[in-house]
Structures are given as C-alpha cells and as structure tokens.
Amino acid sequence: MTVLGIDNVSKSYGDLHTVCDVSLKLDAGERVALLGHNGAGKTTLMRMVLGLTPLTSGQITVLGMAPGSRKARAAIGFLPESVAFNGTLTAREQLHHFARLKSVKTGTADELLERVGLTDAMNRKIRTYSKGMRQRIGLAQALLGQPRLALLDEPTSGLDPISRHEFYDIVDDLAKAGTAVLLSSHALTELETRTDRIAIMSKGRLLANDSLSALRKTARLPIKVEIRTTDETAQQVAAQLGGTRVNGASISLEVQQEEKVSLLGQITGLGGLVKDIDVTPASLEALYRYYSAPDPEKK
C-alpha cells in the first residue's frame, strides 16, 4: 500500500530550482534513505510532504490526502534536522503537550521517553540537555501515535555510536509495525544494512532510487578482493592472479561482479599459498559518489 506518493514535484524560488521533477513512492513498512549533499533538496522535499512549503508543480499525497491537511499531519511523525524545544519546559511536559495535540494518551508519552532512554532525565528542564538528549526527545515525539509515515531528517546527528545503533533498532520496529520510514543522513555506512532502498538527490534532482544491490549492479563499480599470503609466496600468487602487492604479504585485486566467482575458484586452486581473503563490494559511499557526480558521461 502506497503511504507516500511524490509525483513530478518541483520547487523553485525565482530562478533557483531547489527540487526538480522528483518522483518517489514509499509503501507501508519500507525504510528508504534519502541521500544528498547539503543543499541537494532533501529538506525542502520533506517540508513539502509536511505541507510547510507549497509545491511549485507536481503532486504529493500522504495516504491519498493532501500534504498539510489535518488528517495527513495526524498520520506523520517528523523529526527535524536541528530539533529545538522551549528550554524552560521539561521533556515530560513537552512530550505530554505533543501527545495531547495528536490525541494520544499522555501515558504513551512516558513510555516513549523510557524507550529513548530519558526516563531519569524527563523531569529536568530541556535547556540542561545535551544535543543527543534533545535529539532523543525529537525521536520520541516523532513516534507518538504510531505514525503511518515517519520523516526523519538527519536523525542520528549528535548521537553517539551506541545511541545510533539503538535508534536504528527503533526504526526497524517502526517499519515492522507498518510505518513507511523516509530518513536522510550523511552517515552513509550506518545506512547500508538498515534500509531497504536508497534514493540519491543532487542539485534538486533524484539521480537514483533502488535497493543497494540493484544500485551496485547498475553502477558496475569493481569489487575489491584482498588476498593475504606470506612474504615468500606473494610474488608467485601475484603472478598467477594479477593484481598489485600491498604491504609485502598482501595482494589487492579489483573485479566486476560476474568475474568474482571464477576468481574465487582460482584462489581456492592455490591451496595453502593463500592465508586469508577479504571481498568488499562497492561501499555506499562509493556508490553515492558515483551517482551524485556531476559528470554524466561516466554512466
């Protein structure tokens, strides 16, 4: 079921085109990562979905409803990029307020504060909170009322590695319960295993929108294979497989996907000459650089 439909959406401020002809669909339970440089148009796109910024052209629907309509807003959980609250309030007061606005029981707000690990600090004023703690309140409010669509703009900025891990666990739970999750992030490595689909934006355009494996297939970026041998046998192995010697006892090779299996067969044939192998497919970072590069000829 389509939760979010973005069809040929553009946004211009005079001659400045911040979003150009973007089409994107999110189904229930899907986790989609929206990647792009600063100023690529990710935040503008999210603001248009929220109804905060009017569209120049195109159409957006949230569960079939117009963006910004009361029902659409009730179905969305949003975590802004730099989330801010009134510092004189406590986290509990702030979250109870948001719960009331969403017609959710205040008890749910307390449960969410516990889920994001703020139970001990919830009666302290927000002005005493660290950036990471404020981000947790932001996440808790975005989860209020089990939203059908979660829009998370740079959700892990300010979080430490452990908190990031916990954050993605919460995102997984949301998706399992049927929420469509659209999240933008600069921290590419953490997204690789935590999302179903990657959408890449650059200069307002959507340049890629597919699963990680499909993006790898299309980009045809080489797979890196590193073989560890000994100082004595490295030369012999390099002569048989090709590749370059690294650090004396290691050999580095780059192959395409279709050559991978035959190479692994060759390596197995070398028997005891090989001590260890590492096979690394193109990282999301490399894919991101590939798809967002300005040179169109490389494709």
Binding site: G51, L52, T53, R73, P80, V83, N86, L89, E93, K102
Partner: protein, 272 residues
C-alpha cells in the same frame, strides 16, 4: 481542544517567564503605592477613597497595560521561528488560528491575573484604611473589564509585530515604538492639533473620534470619573468625552478583534 492544549503549554511557559513575574510585581507594587499615597490630596472632602485610587490606577494602567500586553506578545511568533520550534508545532494536526488563539487565551489570563492582583490589593488597602462603608465597587469591575479589553488589544498588536518582524530583537524594538506612539506621542500630537485649531472645526468634529480611535484613550475616557475628579485626570479627558460611552466601548472591543484578525493573516503567510 487543540486551542486549550496550546494555552495550557503557554501557561506552563509563562510560569517561568521573567516578563510575567515583572508584570505581576509592577501591577501589585504600583497599585499599592497609588492607593496608599493617592488619598492624600483628597483629605476629608468626602470623595469615595476607592474612586480616588481607581483614578490613579487608571492613569497608571494606560501606560502599564499596553506595555505588559506588548511584552507578553512581541516574541510569540518570531521567538518560535528564531528558536526553530514553530516548524515542528506546525507539523502537528493543529491550525495556525488555534495556535494563535491558544496563546492569546493564556496571555490574557496572565494579564488578567496581574490586573486582578493589583486591583485586589488596592481594594484591600482602601478597606483597611477607610473601612468598607460607602465604597462603590462598580468602577473597580469596570476598570478590570476594560483593562482586559485594552490588554487584549495590545496583545493582538504584539502578535502582528511578532508575525511581521524577522527577528525577536527587531520585534522588541518595534513593540517599544508602538507603545510610545499609542500612550504618549498620539496624545501629544492631538494636544498640539487642539492648540493649533483653537476650538475650531477640528476640535468639535474630528478630535473626539481621533481620541477614541486610540484604545488607550478610549480606556482612559471610560474609567475617568470626569464629574468628580476631572482635575486629577489628563487634560485631554474632559475635551474628548463627547464621543460617548458606546463608541468608547466599541473602540475597546473592536481593537482586539481587528488586531487578532490581522495577526492571524500575517501568521498565515509565515513559512517557518
């Protein structure tokens, strides 16, 4: 329902707001001092001591209530835009009209509380000093009701400033200028025009309407007991009485509606 939720949060914030505490202290302090010292000129002439106090408090309120109204409201919208809290609020199922109205109710409650504390102190001190016999409480309630209307007008004006100004600092500057114009310069201008006209057409036809068009002056005209202690009041009061109670009340009641309507229109145009 959302309006009440917004009002509830705004009251929580107001509880810890420096301006609210200042307003309460100002109203309480000035009302007490004016009540205790205000009786001195009347001596034992037989004038209702509460009326003397109310006259003094009215003169003070003309300055203080617009100031408190503007102080409570000038950063309502621009402050939220500056802090970055408005965008998140607007992603919740609540309309801008409900947000504005919720904040207005909370601010009016705070202002009403400050005025009530001041007037209660004044009445209490008068009873303590002169006894409760022969006191007329009606002007006290009239002062309270019109203070709310005057406060509401300036809360609305504050929201307009807050929705139009780009930064909180700018909004506070504009608020002070508006306050100066409404409670000081406007009257001075009218006075200068009166003197220049020398009792001509302007004085008889235009002036009473111009005077009552300013909510602060309408408030003064309603609450000044012209017949009894006009000498204590502003010189403009006697000359402007021609517009009548109905017009004065209409001015006081229309201003909040007009200001809130304009503030809502300006707020709707904001893209947080």
């Amino acid at each position: 329902m959302s309006t009440l939720t917004i009002a509830r949060l705004e009251l929580l914030i107001a509880r810890r707001n420096m301006w609210v505490a200042t307003s309460l202290v100002l109203m309480g302090l000035f009302s007490s001092v004016l009540t205790l010292a205000g009786g001195a000129p009347s001596g034992t002439l037989g004038v209702d001591p509460l009326l003397i106090a109310i006259t003094s408090i009215t003169t003070l309120s003309v300055y203080l209530i617009p100031l408190i109204g503007l102080l409570l409201s000038f950063d309502t919208i621009t402050g939220e835009v500056d802090r970055g809290t408005l965008a998140l609020s607007l992603t919740y199922p609540v309309s801008r009209g409900e947000i504005l109205l919720g904040k207005f109710f909370a601010h009016l409650l705070v202002l009403g509380f400050a005025v009530a504390v001041g007037l209660a102190l004044s009445a209490g001190l008068t009873i303590w000093k002169y006894g409760s016999a022969d006191l007329n409480y009606l002007p006290l309630f009239k002062l309270f009701g019109t203070s709310l209307a005057l406060g509401a007008a300036f809360l609305g004006i504050g929201y307009i400033i807050s929705a139009l100004a780009r930064q909180t600092g700018v909004a506070s500057g504009i608020a002070i200028i508006i306050w100066l114009i409404c409670v000081v310069l406007y009257d001075l201008g009218l006075l200068a025009a009166l003197v220049a006209d020398g009792g001509g057409v302007f004085t008889k036809t235009v002036f009473p309407w111009l005077l009552v068009a300013n909510p602060a002056d309408a408030f003064r005209l309603i609450n000044m007991p012209v017949d009894t202690v006009s000498t204590l009041a502003s010189g403009l009061g006697g000359a402007g009485g021609a517009s009548g109670f109905g017009v004065q009340m209409a001015s006081l009641l229309l201003w909040p509606l007009l200001a809130l309507g304009l503030a809502w229109a300006a707020f709707r145009r904001i893209e947080p």
